[in-house]
C-alpha cells in the first residue's frame, strides 16, 4: 500500500515530468515560429520618377474617355518607390506554412474596371485559389491570355459578365493579359504552386511572409525588362538564407537603364 505522502511526491514528480516532456501551447507555437521567416525589402527607382504616358483611348469613348488612362508599365512613386516588381521563391520543393493554407483568400479576382484591368499585377496560388474574372464596366470586355503549356483563354465578357479560368501548371514568368477590344489594357498574372510570391506595392515595398527557414533561390521580375538583373543578381535571381523572424533585403536601387523594355 502506498502512503499518502509518497503518493503526493510521486504525483508531483509525474506532473513535472509531463510538463517538461510535452511542450505546452506557447512552446509549440514558438517551435512552429522557428520554422518560418519573412523576407522584406524595398525597390527604389534610382532616378527622376517618370510621368506615366497617357495612352490613346479610341474605343467606347462614352465610357472610357472620362478616365485618366496611363501606361502602367513603369510605376514610380514621388519618393522613388518602384511598384509591380515580382519576387518569388523559385524552388517548388519548399514546404508551405500551414497558416498560409488557412488564410489565403479563396479567389483571386481580375476586374475590368474604369476601362483598365485591376489589379495590373497579380499572382495566384493555383492549386488552392480560383481565378475569377469580372466586368464592372458598363461596356463589353475581352480577356485574352495564353500561359505556356496551359489552356489559352479568349473570353468575351458582356456587361455585368463574369468568368472563371483554371490554371493547370505553374509559370516561370508572369503571363501577359490583353483585351482585344481595348488595346491599351494590359495586366499580368503569375500562377505558382506555392504562396511565396510578392509584388511590390506603390511605395516599392514587398514582403514574402512565412517562408521556410533555410537557403532558397528567389526570382525578381519586372514587366519592362523581364528578369530584373543586377550585377549581383544574374538572370534576376539571388540566393538568401532565411532565418526565423524578420529578414530584410533593405533598399534595392534600380538604375533607370535596367528598366528599359527589352526586345
Amino acid at each position: 500500500m502506498i502512503s499518502r505522502r509518497r503518493f503526493m511526491v510521486q504525483s508531483a514528480a509525474a506532473g513535472l515530468a509531463i510538463v517538461f516532456a510535452a511542450p505546452g501551447p506557447v512552446q509549440a507555437e514558438k517551435k512552429e515560429e522557428a520554422k518560418w521567416g519573412d523576407l522584406k525589402g524595398r525597390f527604389v527607382f534610382d532616378g527622376k520618377p517618370p510621368e506615366p504616358k497617357k495612352l490613346k483611348v479610341d474605343r467606347d469613348l462614352e465610357c472610357c474617355v472620362k478616365f485618366d488612362i496611363r501606361d502602367e508599365s513603369l510605376m514610380v512613386a514621388a519618393d522613388g518607390g518602384l511598384a509591380n516588381v515580382y519576387v518569388w521563391l523559385r524552388n517548388s520543393k519548399a514546404s508551405v506554412c500551414p497558416d498560409l493554407t488557412q488564410t489565403a483568400p479563396k479567389q483571386v479576382v481580375l476586374d475590368n474596371r474604369d476601362c483598365i484591368f485591376k489589379p495590373h499585377c497579380m499572382a495566384i496560388w493555383y492549386p488552392k485559389q480560383q481565378y475569377s474574372i469580372v466586368n464592372s464596366d458598363p461596356i463589353a470586355q475581352n480577356v485574352a491570355f495564353s500561359p505556356l503549356g496551359d489552356t489559352p483563354a479568349n473570353i468575351v465578357l458582356a456587361v455585368g459578365g463574369n468568368a472563371s479560368y483554371e490554371f493547370h501548371r505553374k509559370q516561370s514568368a508572369p503571363v501577359p493579359i490583353a483585351c482585344n477590344y481595348h488595346p491599351w489594357e494590359r495586366a499580368y498574372v503569375l500562377p505558382r504552386d506555392n504562396p511565396y510570391v510578392a509584388i511590390s506595392a506603390g511605395n516599392g515595398r514587398f514582403s514574402l511572409t512565412k517562408l521556410p527557414v533555410g537557403e532558397w533561390e528567389f526570382q525578381v521580375w519586372h514587366e519592362r525588362p523581364g528578369w530584373l538583373e543586377l550585377p549581383q543578381w544574374p538572370k534576376g535571381r539571388f540566393r538568401f538564407a532565411i532565418k526565423a523572424g524578420d529578414n530584410d533585403l533593405g533598399t534595392i536601387k534600380i538604375a533607370p537603364a535596367r528598366l528599359e523594355a527589352k526586345r
Binding site: 479610341d58 461596356i139 496551359d150 468575351v156 458582356a158 505553374k170 482585344n180 488595346p183 527589352k262
Partner: protein
C-alpha cells in the same frame, strides 16, 4: 509556280515538325505506345523571336509547341487549340524546320515590339495575325474560284496585316495550277469546282459578278426573322462581330488597324461553308494563333441572347447561314427562304 514567284519567302508552306521520344517513365503503361511521336505546328517564340524556353527547375530547359494537327503523346490526345505541348529538351530528338515563311518569322518580333511601343497590347502569338499566313490549309479553307481570282488580282483582306500580297501578273494557267495544288494538298474532292469542264476550257472564270447565289448550310427553309436576328448579332459593334469586323461597309470602332479583322461582306464567297462553320464554332481549333474569341461556346451560357436568342448551336446555324449569303441578304424579301 510556287518557286517561280517565291511564295515561300513570305508564306509557310510546310509547318515545323518535332519528333519527341516517348516518356520513359511511363513505359509499359500503354501497350501500343510508340517510341516517338511527330508534332506538326509552330514552336512558341518569345518576344525576341527566339524559341520560348522555360528553365524554372534544374532539370533542363523545356519548350512549347503549338499543334496544328492533333497528336497522341504518352497515351493522351492533344487537339488543335488546346494547351501547347510542353517538350523537355531531352525528349526532342529531331527538328524539321518549317518550309517557307522566313520573312514572317523575321518580322514577328519587330511587329510585336512596334505594337507594344505604341501602346497596343496583344495576347501572346497575336502578332502572327499581322503577317502573311501559313498556306498549309489554304485549299480546305478557301473557295477555289475565289482563290483563282485572288491570285490574279490580289485584294486586301486583313486590315491588320503588315505586308500586302503583290500582284504577280500570273497567267490564268499558273493561277489554276496553284488553286488546284492547294485543293489537292488539302485533300479536297476532285473536281475542285462545280463548273469544272465548262465549254470555255477554263475551270475558273475571272468575273466581277457574284459566282454563287445561295448555298444553305442548314437543310430546309430558314426563317427570314432568324437571319434578321443573326444580322443584329453580326453587326453589333459593342461585343460581337462588328466589334472587330467591317460589316456592310461599316468599319469597327477604333483607329488601331491592328485589331481590325477582315470585312464579313465577302466571307461567303471566300470561305468554304464547312470551313466557315468550323471556324466560327471554335476559331483556335482552326487557327491556333487567332485573336478571334469563341462566340458560340459548346458549353456554358450562350452569348448575345438579347440579339440572337437560342442555343449556341442555333446561333451558329443562323450566323453561318447569314454569312454564306451576306451579299444577297439585304435584297431578299423578308418572307423568302
Amino acid at each position: 509556280v510556287l518557286d517561280k514567284y517565291g511564295c515561300a519567302g513570305c508564306h509557310t508552306l510546310e509547318l515545323e515538325r518535332w519528333t519527341i521520344a516517348a516518356d520513359s517513365s511511363r513505359a509499359g503503361r500503354f501497350s501500343a505506345q510508340p517510341e516517338s511521336v511527330e508534332l506538326s505546328g509552330m514552336p512558341r517564340l518569345d518576344a525576341t523571336g527566339a524559341l520560348q524556353e522555360e528553365d524554372d527547375e534544374d532539370d533542363g530547359p523545356r519548350y512549347f509547341f503549338t499543334l496544328w494537327a492533333p497528336a497522341v503523346i504518352d497515351g493522351q490526345r492533344h487537339s488543335v487549340g488546346d494547351a501547347d505541348v510542353v517538350v523537355p529538351n531531352a525528349r526532342r530528338t529531331l527538328v524539321r524546320r518549317a518550309q517557307g515563311g522566313d520573312l514572317a518569322r523575321e518580322l514577328y518580333p519587330v511587329l510585336l515590339d512596334d505594337a507594344r511601343r505604341s501602346g497596343v497590347s496583344v495576347a501572346e502569338g497575336g502578332a502572327w495575325g499581322w503577317l502573311p499566313p501559313p498556306l498549309v490549309h489554304e485549299g480546305a479553307k478557301v473557295e477555289p474560284q475565289w482563290l483563282f481570282r485572288f491570285l490574279l488580282d490580289p485584294q486586301a483582306i486583313r486590315p491588320a496585316v503588315a505586308m500586302r500580297m503583290p500582284r504577280f501578273n500570273l497567267s490564268t494557267a499558273e493561277a489554276r495550277k496553284l488553286t488546284d495544288c492547294f485543293a489537292a494538298v488539302a485533300g479536297m474532292e476532285y473536281p475542285y469546282t462545280s463548273n469544272a469542264g465548262s465549254g470555255t476550257g477554263e475551270r475558273y472564270t475571272f468575273c466581277k459578278t457574284p459566282f454563287r447565289p445561295f448555298r444553305h448550310s442548314v437543310p430546309g427553309p430558314f426563317a427570314a426573322s432568324r437571319l434578321d436576328d443573326a444580322m443584329r448579332f453580326v453587326s453589333d459593334r459593342t461585343a460581337y462581330c462588328g466589334r472587330c469586323h467591317t460589316v456592310a461597309g461599316r468599319a469597327p470602332p477604333g483607329e488601331c488597324r491592328l485589331l481590325h479583322a477582315p470585312a464579313l461582306d465577302g466571307v461567303g464567297q471566300r470561305l468554304r461553308p464547312e470551313y466557315l462553320r468550323r471556324w466560327l464554332a471554335d476559331p483556335k481549333s482552326v487557327l491556333p494563333y487567332t485573336a478571334m474569341p469563341a462566340l458560340f461556346p459548346a458549353s456554358g451560357k450562350p452569348l448575345g441572347q438579347d440579339l440572337l436568342p437560342g442555343t449556341s448551336q442555333q446561333q451558329l446555324d443562323a450566323v453561318v447561314e447569314l454569312l454564306l449569303q451576306f451579299d444577297q441578304y439585304p435584297k431578299q424579301p423578308m418572307t423568302a427562304y
